[in-house]
Amino acid sequence: MLLNIKNLHVSIGGKEILKGLNLGVNEGEIHAIMGPNGTGKSTLAAAITGREGYEITEGEIWYKGKNIVGMSPEDRANEGIFLSFQYPVEIPGVSIQNFMRTAVNSKREYQGLPPMSTVDFMKMMKEKQAMVEITEKLQNRFVNVGYSGGEKKKNEIFQMAMLEPSLAILDETDSGLDIDALRIVAHGVNQLHNSENAFVVITHYQRLLDYIVPDFVHVMYDGRIVKTGGKTLALELEEKGYEWIKEL
C-alpha cells in the first residue's frame, strides 16, 4: 500500500481536528475526499505533508513502508508527496524558473543524482507547461505573483508535472476555476495518472469528479471518514447534500 493512515489524531493549538482517521491508498488509485467545510480535509493534507503547527497526538502515517510522522516537509516532498495548494503562495522576487530548478535539483540531490543540465531543464519546463496550456513565457515571472486564480491552479499542476510525485494531494484545486480552467487542470491530472502513482482529491463539489473519475469516494465529517463508496457516492452527495451524513 502506498499510503496507509491509521487512527490519525491531529490537533492545532490544542484543539483536536482529526479524531481517528483511517485511509488506505494503493498505487494507481484515485481517491476523492468530500465533506462539509471545517471537517478537517485540509488538516489531513497538512498532516500528510508535514506542516508545522499540526500536532499529531496519536496514530501513524505510513508511506512507501515508512512511518513519516516527524519527517521534514522537504524529505516527504522528495520521497514523492506533492500538495497542490488550495491557496498557492505568492513569492515576490523568486522566478518560477529559479524556483522549479531549485526544487527539481533538490529532489535529484536527495536521490543521489547530479543536477539537471540547463538544456534538459528548459526542455522539460516547456513540455510540462504545454501540458496545462500555459502558453505565456513563465520563466521570468515571480512565483504566483499577479497570477489569476486559474493561472495559480494551472501552475500547481505544472509544478506537479515537473516533480512527478508518487502521491499527489489536490486540495480544493477546483475552487475558483471556470469550466475551461477546470478541464485543463483535470486533463493535466489524467495525463499524469498512471499505475505507479495515486491521487487524493479533496473537493467540496462533485463537479471536478466528472473530469477526474475517482475509484473511491470518502466522506469526512467531524475529523473522521464516516462513509466510503464508489464514484456514485459523489452523485448521491450532490443530490442529497451533507446533512444526512451527520446522522451516520
Binding site: 521534514s72 516537509p73 522537504e74 516532498a77 513569492i91 522576487g93 531549485t102 533538490s106 529532489k107
Partner: protein, 275 residues
C-alpha cells in the same frame, strides 16, 4: 580621509567604493559632492569590515538642475556602521535615488540617516533601504524628507523594510516627511517582519530544504536593492556576495572583499580609471 567631488555640467561618472579597511578606525569619512547642471553620478559603496571595526561614512550632496544621482550602499559586515546622507536638491528637474541594503548578524550595528531637501520645484527623490538582521544585530533607519514651501510638483518616496530573523535582533525605523508645499506626491513607509512562513512551507513542500528556502527568500528580498546596480559586472559580483553572505560563507573572510576564501570564484576587476 575626506574628499570632494565635483561633476561638471553634462558629464556622467560611475564610482565604486570598497570599504574593506581592516583597521579599527572610527574616523569619519566625509564626501562632499556637487552635481552641476545635467550631470550624472552613480555611486556604489560596498562595506565589508570585521565585527570589531567601525565605519562612519557621510555624504553631503548638492544637485543642480536636471542632475541625476544614484547611490547604492551595501553593508555586508561591520561592527558599528553609521552612514549619513544629506542631499540638497537645488535645481529644478534634479533626481535622487538612494538604495541601501544591510545584512547583519551577531552583535553588529548599522545606522542609516537620510536627509533629502527638496528646496526647489519639480524634483524627484526615491529612497529604499532594506535589511536582514540575525542574532543580536541592531539597526537604525532614520529618513527625513523635507519639501520647501515653493517646491511644488515634488515627487518623493521613501521606504524601509526589514526581516528580523530572531527575537533578539532589533531595528528602529523612523521615516519622516516634512512638507510645506501643497501640490506634491510624497509617500513613506516602513515594515518589519519575519520570513514569510507560508512561503517557507510552500517551498519546503516542493522539496527545497529549509536552509535553501530561507536563502531564496532572503535573496529575493535583498535583490530589490541590488537590482538597482546599473553596472552588470558589479551587479553579478554583488549578487554572488549576497548569496554567500546569506549562506554564512562571507563572514569567514571578514577583513577583505577581494582576497576572500574562494578567490577562484571571482573574475572581477575594478576599473580604477573611472574613480
Amino acid at each position: 580621509m575626506d574628499n570632494q567631488l565635483i561633476i561638471a555640467a553634462n558629464q556622467s561618472r560611475e564610482i565604486i567604493e570598497y570599504d574593506d579597511d581592516a583597521h579599527l578606525s572610527a574616523e569619519p569619512k566625509v564626501s562632499e559632492i556637487v552635481l552641476n547642471e545635467n550631470a550624472s553620478l552613480e555611486l556604489y559603496v560596498l562595506q565589508n569590515v570585521n565585527n570589531e571595526a567601525s565605519i562612519q561614512r557621510e555624504f553631503k550632496i548638492r544637485q543642480l538642475a536636471d542632475s541625476r544621482l544614484k547611490i547604492v550602499v551595501i553593508t555586508f559586515n561591520g561592527g558599528d556602521v553609521r552612514n549619513s546622507y544629506r542631499v540638497d536638491l537645488d535645481g529644478e528637474g534634479a533626481d535622487t535615488q538612494i538604495y541601501g541594503l544591510y545584512l547583519i548578524d551577531k552583535k553588529q550595528h548599522v545606522e542609516n540617516y537620510l536627509k533629502v531637501n527638496h528646496n526647489v520645484p519639480h524634483c524627484t527623490s526615491n529612497e529604499k533601504f532594506k535589511g536582514v538582521l540575525d542574532d543580536e544585530a541592531t539597526g537604525i533607519f532614520n529618513g527625513h524628507v523635507y519639501v520647501a514651501k515653493n517646491a511644488q510638483k515634488t515627487d518623493a518616496h521613501q521606504n524601509n523594510s526589514n526581516i528580523i530573523l530572531t527575537p533578539t535582533a532589533k531595528i528602529n525605523s523612523q521615516p519622516f516627511l516634512e512638507i510645506y508645499a501643497d501640490d506634491v506626491k510624497c509617500s513613506h513607509g516602513t515594515s518589519t517582519g519575519q520570513l514569510d512562513q507560508e512561503a517557507m512551507f510552500y517551498m519546503r513542500q516542493r522539496g527545497i530544504s529549509k536552509a535553501n528556502a530561507r536563502i531564496l527568500l532572503m535573496y529575493a528580498f535583498a535583490a530589490e536593492v541590488s537590482n538597482h546596480i546599473g553596472n552588470d559586472m558589479l551587479h553579478e559580483h554583488i549578487d554572488d556576495m549576497i548569496k554567500r553572505r546569506l549562506r554564512g560563507e562571507l563572514s569567514s573572510c571578514e577583513t577583505c572583499v577581494l582576497r576572500c576564501s574562494h578567490p577562484k570564484d571571482y573574475n572581477f576587476e575594478i576599473d580604477y580609471s573611472k574613480i
